[in-house]
């Protein structure tokens, strides 16, 4: 735990690892073979999980941390950092992931929540955490609990970028709004956001979050990745979008290139040629409230 600028936030070395992943792509993988494809395509990190979000959506049932054996196989297969998901509030899954030497734990809404009121106390761990959020208040609550990286949630397994855009815009405009408030307005704003006052004050001054902000949930094409980067994401997570497409290796490589050259349309044209079929995707506005993953988290 650090005390940078009077803030109680994650350790500098943990926020530092998030900094090292910037401009990169973190890819969901379920086994060693997929992990190797991801690494060969240029992924900056892989995320181990039991099933990709679109399968969790399709199959239903309780979605849990990936089996230990699978995680170990993935760790053996690649040299890049390995992340893994734990259920919201399931601090024992997190303890197991820490003991396995996982490099970043994602306390994730994609899995079935284990606690309907509380998230994990992330300061209690020696490895960093990333958490999802839909707006600035949620982002600052997670940072206040010790998250070393934030990712906007989007709608996992949908192949539809609209929710990711909504959440990134909400964060960016929430930050911008704080920067124009006067000091006496900040306490009420903290109350309205449901966010720690110290963090609200810090963001109002800095004009950014104290930890890196990545994007997740719905990225299926190189153009989607570049869109999120242009909207302010500092790196992207791609879940079902790669291994549910017709040519995962090629699509993975194209998304890596698009994330680096996100401001260069000529490159985006080049990498978008001959990609095969993207995952099919879902119209998220037609999903029932109970089928949304993004509403999990408190």
């Amino acid at each position: 735990m650090a005390d940078a600028n009077g803030l109680r936030i994650a350790d500098r070395k943990h926020i530092g690892l998030a900094e090292m992943l910037k401009g990169g792509v973190i890819m969901d993988v379920t086994n060693a073979e997929q992990a190797k494809i991801a690494e060969d395509a240029g992924a900056a990190s892989v995320m181990a999980l039991e099933r990709v979000p679109s399968d969790i959506r399709k199959d239903g049932g309780v979605a849990r941390m990936s089996p230990v054996k699978k995680i170990q196989e993935i760790q053996k297969a690649v040299t890049i950092p390995v992340m893994a998901k734990a259920r919201i509030g399931h601090f024992v899954e997190a303890q197991i992931l820490e003991a396995l030497g996982i490099d970043f734990i994602d306390e994730s809404e994609v899995l079935t929540p284990a606690d309907e009121h509380f998230h994990i106390d992330k300061f209690a761990f020696r490895v960093p955490f990333v958490c999802g959020c839909r707006d600035l208040g949620e982002a600052l609550r997670r940072i206040g609990e010790g998250a070393a990286m934030i990712r906007t949630k989007g709608e996992a397994g949908s192949g539809n970028i609209v929710e990711a855009v909504r959440h990134m815009r909400a964060i960016v405009s929430g930050i911008r709004r704080l920067t124009v408030l006067s000091p006496e307005e900040l306490m009420t704003e903290a109350k309205n956001l449901g966010a720690p006052y110290d963090l609200v004050r810090w963001v109002a001054q800095a004009g950014k979050l104290p930890v890196p902000n990545f994007s997740a949930g719905g990225i299926a094409t190189p153009a989607d990745a570049a869109l999120m980067m242009q909207l302010g994401a500092e790196a992207v997570f791609v879940g079902s979008g790669i291994f549910k497409s017709s040519d995962p290796a090629r699509r993975a490589k194209a998304i890596v290139q698009a994330t680096t050259h996100f401001k260069d349309p000529a490159v985006l044209v080049k990498v978008s040629e001959d990609l095969g079929d993207a995952m099919v995707g879902i119209e998220t506005s037609k999903l029932a409230e109970k089928d949304l993953m993004q509403t999990r988290g408190w």
Binding site: R12, K13, H14, G16, L17, E19, M20, L21, K22, G23, G24, E39, A41, G42, A43, A44, S45, T79, I80, P81, E98, G101, I102, D103, F104, R126, V127, P128, V256, Q257, T259, T260, H261, D264
Partner: protein
């Protein structure tokens, strides 16, 4: 004077900020042609396998070799060091070989084993206290005869220099301490004088060759040039 930061992937933004604290203009480099505009280059921390793929894809390997041959300084931190080293182990992978050191990747372990330490570097002949943040850091396992060790941690080299190439296994850009970046800026400032003189020499040489060719052409045609 302008210093580039290789912005393919990694913590390039923090290096640009650190250069800003030294009063130096920084430029993001995503394509090899952008190297023409900068007097020195920082290769940041990030994932070396990712950086390698992107470097090969965009033709950075010959471009960086040329950049180095021209005497323009390069500073690599963590993944940047791995890319600049002569040889790399665990696993063995391609590297530019611009500094005569051998490195082992992720040599302290995984993120759980990342750590911070205080140490001392010998900069411009003076012992200078520095803050060191090691993140899934490599270890320098071999140092060649022409390489100067500038800082050590537990008797192992963590910062080294050979001519115009500077490397560190830790991340000075994650701290507010500008000492290491100031040292690199001074390297670039000094090298710039020589690089400029060489470029001017080359330009005047070209002018001379062109004048001679014009003279020859006019001689052949029998008309004045």
């Amino acid at each position: 004077m302008k210093i580039g930061v290789l912005a393919l992937q990694g913590d390039f933004e923090l290096h640009a900020k650190a250069l800003g604290r030294c009063g130096i203009q920084a430029g993001e480099v995503r394509k090899p042609e952008q190297l023409a505009d900068v007097d020195g280059l920082i290769i940041p921390g990030g994932e070396s396998t990712t950086l390698l793929k992107l470097m090969h894809e965009w033709g950075f390997v010959p471009a960086l070799e040329k950049f180095h041959a021209q005497g323009r300084p390069i500073f690599g931190t963590c993944a940047g060091l791995i890319l600049l080293a002569r040889e790399v182990e665990s696993p063995a992978q391609f590297s530019l070989g611009l500094i005569d050191v051998g490195v082992e990747r992720n040599a302290y372990g995984r993120q759980r084993e990342s750590f911070e330490a205080r140490g001392s570097a010998t900069l411009e002949g003076r012992a200078t206290p520095i803050e060191m943040v090691f993140i899934r850091a490599p270890r320098i396992r071999r140092v060649g005869a022409g390489v100067e060790t500038l800082a050590a941690y537990r008797d192992e080299p963590v910062m080294a220099r050979q001519g115009s190439v500077l490397v560190a296994t830790f991340h000075p850009e994650l701290t507010d301490d500008p000492a290491v970046h100031e040292y690199f800026c001074a390297m670039v400032r000094k090298a710039r004088v020589g690089v400029r003189a060489a470029a001017e020499g080359e330009a005047s040489l070209r002018k001379g060759v062109r004048a001679a060719a014009d003279g020859e052409a006019s001689l052949r045609s029998g008309r004045p040039a």
